[in-house]
Amino acid sequence: MSHGFCLGILPVGEIEPLYLKIIAGSFLGELRTKSLILPPLPHPNYAFDKRRLQYNAGTMINELETHAFKGCSKVIALVEEDLFIPVFSFVLGEARMGGTTALVSLYRLQKNPTRAAKVALHEFGHLMNINHCHEKKCVMKFSKDIEQLDSISSIFCNYCLDQIRYAMKQKR
């Protein structure tokens, strides 16, 4: 279905390989998208905010988007650290609408790769210009914390799925 579309899965700092495999499996299962596990980048010290003791997601995305990941249409970067954006106290993941690279923080997911896969699919949706969804179970529904993250499924609702498929066709 999505021949030609390749997702890059990028560890930033040290990341357990299991997370990378489960995320790649989720994308293959949900979107029939092949993934490429990229060589890890160094720990993102440059994004550390001494005042908040967290890592600035915006700074990280800016830095990661300067890299060219050959053959990858979009990139999902995984980081162990706690992320924030200036107005929010924390974020589980971050992506810019239509951007090339999204971030997933494993910090608050309590060592649960399924949760990481949900965040990755959700942020990928944003990279494909998909807004938050109001369907109860859709993975694009906004989750404020892991309780809410657990209440949604790992799949897109039909409406979001159609939009993503269409957007992926354009990206090929």
């Binding site: 915006g58 107005v87 924390f90 609408m97 807004n131």
Partner: protein, 449 residues
């Protein structure tokens, strides 16, 4: 949440603007951002925003100053203040001058969701409130009474004058003249206008029921009185009680009402305790109460009590100059309600409506226009649309003296119009020959339209 809401983010820090912009965009909101107060005011001049997220500390115009301007110029726009931890006092002050909420930086994303939900609800309630208030105003508006004739102008003046007093008013007029509208107008113009207006049609209740409706009852007062119930005298509590068809009430009830009017106290049925009541009484009747007094059917003491001031509404046939105005008003009302594009009445129809006696007065005219609008298939209402008026009330000049010839001419004209000037058919209906009808048409100088 209402994704149609438009949001303006006002913050001097680019990262904050971007963060919020991205978050709102991902939620599907229409979002714009401004880098300072001046920029925000410029954007507000060109576009309507439902919510502003404003940073408190900005160079130049502070968030506080912007809030003050927005709350003066754009009353419908909600403002949420964003402030750094530690400046709660400022946030509280902002709430006092009209901010809808405040956020302490950094906040959890769900706080934003909650605020959006709260404001969306408030806006929904405000819209609903305005709609309902508009409907209520429509019902109670003084300008619901339509008419520019001299008798109506006198009535408007009377309404203005009597509204200032607390005296009972008796409104007289034939059925359908708008007695209740006048009563409502008096209530709306009076100092009791923020209290209930309670109308009660006395003619619709048998005596015993009317008594329990007005006075209320105590549990066990009669079979079926399973609980205590307040009557209209209590329900109206400080407002205006409008008793329509007051001529219909029995002498026994008149005595009871007279006592209430004099003492401003009531006793619920089946109770012994007296309850103080405060209301203004407006009453109305289509009957001639003075002749009822002569016949011994209406108490004179009660009549003088309710008739401190009287307003007489003339029947529609006595204010023909208002008919066109009313007809167009109802045409507009019902074409809007039925979403039919009917914009006018042709000249002959208007003249016909003017000459029609309207025994049911304004109500009958309203019903006639409504029916015509519903059934009409063209953009202009014609005589054909008012055919239904003829059988019962042939056009005559009620109150005017016509000669036999004039009546003859008018009737022939009506029959011809009804039959689209089909001479054979019209002659048949009139019971005369075609030749006679032709002669009469010539004699009366009648012309086919």
């Amino acid at each position: 949440m209402d994704q149609q809401m438009k949001i303006l983010i006002v913050d001097d820090e680019l990262v904050v603007r971007e963060s919020l912009y991205h978050w709102f965009s991902r939620q599907g909101y229409h979002t714009r951002s401004a880098k300072n107060g001046k920029d925000a005011l410029g954007k507000l001049e060109n576009e309507n925003f439902d919510i502003l997220f404003v940073d408190m500390k900005m160079p130049g115009m502070s968030g506080f100053e912007l809030l003050e301007v927005v709350k003066t110029r754009y009353l419908d726009t909600a403002v949420v203040i964003i402030t750094a931890y530690g400046s709660i006092d400022t946030a509280v002050q902002a709430m006092k001058i009209g901010a809808s909420d405040y956020l302490l930086k950094p906040f959890k994303p769900d706080q934003l969701s909650l605020i959006m939900e709260k404001i969306s609800q408030q806006m929904k309630f405000t819209t609903e409130y305005r709609y309902l208030k508009g409907q209520l105003d429509k019902i109670c508006r003084f300008d619901n009474i339509i008419g520019e004739s001299d008798p109506m102008k006198k009535i408007y003046q009377m309404i203005e004058e009597v509204a200032k007093t607390d005296a009972p008013v008796l409104i007289l007029g034939e059925t359908g003249t708008g007695k209740e509208l006048v009563a409502k107008a008096i209530h709306v113009k009076s100092s009791r206008n923020n209290l209930p207006f309670v109308p009660l049609n006395c003619g619709a209740f048998p005596d015993s029921l009317l008594e329990s409706e007005l006075f209320g009852y105590h549990k066990g007062a009669f079979t079926g009185a399973s609980h205590n119930r307040k009557g209209f005298f209590e329900v109206v509590s400080g407002g205006t009680l409008f008793l329509d068809e007051i001529g219909e009430i029995s002498q026994k009830m008149q005595v009871g009402l007279l006592r209430v009017l004099q003492e401003k106290k009531i006793t619920r049925l089946g109770d012994t305790r007296e309850i103080d009541v405060d209301f203004r009484l407006l009453s109305a009747t289509r009957q001639n109460l003075e002749s009822k007094i002569m016949e011994g059917q209406f108490r004179s003491d009660f009549f003088y009590r309710i008739n401190i001031i009287s307003i007489e509404i003339p029947p529609l046939r006595e204010r023909k100059e208002d008919i066109a105005l009313l007809a167009y008003h109802f045409l507009d009302k019902y074409s809007q309600e039925t979403t039919k594009k009917i914009d006018t009445l042709d000249r002959k129809t208007l003249e016909y409506l003017r000459q029609y006696p309207w025994p049911g007065n304004v109500r009958e005219l309203e019903n006639a226009i409504e029916r015509a609008v519903v059934l009409s298939k063209s953009r202009t209402l014609t005589l054909e649309d008012f055919n239904f008026l003829k059988p019962n009330y042939p056009p005559s000049s009620h109150g005017m003296t016509l000669t036999l010839k004039e009546v003859e001419k008018q009737y022939i004209d009506t029959i011809l119009q009804d039959n689209q000037w089909n001479i054979s058919r019209s002659a048949d209906i009139l019971g005369i020959s075609r030749a006679t009808l032709h002669r009469m048409i010539n004699r009366f100088h009648m012309e086919k339209p």
